[in-house]
Amino acid sequence: MKIIISNSSDKPIYDQIVEQIKNLIINGELAEAEMLPSIRNLAKELQISVITTKRAYEELEREGYIVSVPGKGSFVSAQNKDLLKEARIRIIEEKLAEAVQAARTVGISMEELSEMLKILYEEG
């Protein structure tokens, strides 16, 4: 499990942890029912405050990615892979809608936009 914290980023540290653990779950690197490090251990390893790691776990719990069992620890919750993928697709759709909107305001055609998308996709 890899988590990298940037101290110079504008994004709060708890948010960076949430984002990275979410990605690990979606990519399947963290399997269902796998135990996460304790909030204290994670804080110690990353040299950050316990309050920060606690907040990150609370956020993940609220969004249903993990479950915490008092006295036992935090675990990756039973996820429906399709649901996770759907969540991802929804994010992509939102971003594409934004791009379409931006294209319309400056009069870029559907063809031109698809061409741009194609180039970007192949470059990446």
Partner: protein
Amino acid sequence: MEPILEIKGLRKSYGDFSIKGIDLVLEKGYIMGFIGPNGAGKSTTIKLIMNLLKKDGGEIKVFGKDNVKFEHEIKNRIGFVYDENYFYEELTISEMKWIIEPFYKTWDEKAYKKYIKKFELPEKKKIKELSKGMKMKLSLTIALSHNADLLIMDEPTSGLDPLVRSELLETLSEVIQDENKAVFFSTHITSDLDKIADYVTLIHNGEILFSESKDDILSNYGIVKGGKEILGKDASRDFVGVRQNRFGFEALTKDKNQIKRKYGDKILIEKPTLEEIMLYHTRREQNAV
């Protein structure tokens, strides 16, 4: 849950200095950094907690008990690290240990050996031959060798090199792996706290200016820069420690989101460090608008 350390309305004055009725709470499982400029009242507060000074008024409770009435019981459970050497210079480390050990009911030889090894302390050397960093590590070793639940340290990092400081900080985060323990330490090197502190308390002129979680402090405060024209009648309410120059001003805000909404593009907001927050607060009086 009962706080591990609780201070209410603490007062003490001597000469022209006074602690003006301070309040403070530290829960189990957390590290609190106690910051402030020299002479702000950090050491006095710590000495009052340790009952090395007599308070004029107020209440100090450690583990839920009065710190004077239950002094012995409480001190058995406190690990205390002081900024000056309080060992006998002529003794070796192991001789010093033999003297200190009987004072604690709960001396833990295994822990003592562990830290001696970890910090690579030469047990046969006389205390006066140790470097400043080693003396501090020895103090910390003693403080951690009697199963203390609360670690109180007065300027433990002052005068230490960055390497020793980071070893010390790492040890502190190890200590609170046990969530029944807590650490309270004073420092004026705020970069020590940027990382590991859970709570930060700022004292200035014997008063607590704030005592909040570090994450909240760092996400709400901001350094504001802008042209002087926006320093109107609200300035003293919106900004702390305004500093003007020929071309504009710089100040601290306690609520950067509100300031952003109010002034929009007319200002620039940057992420502050704890050091900057301390500086802007403590120079407020001299530079009031």
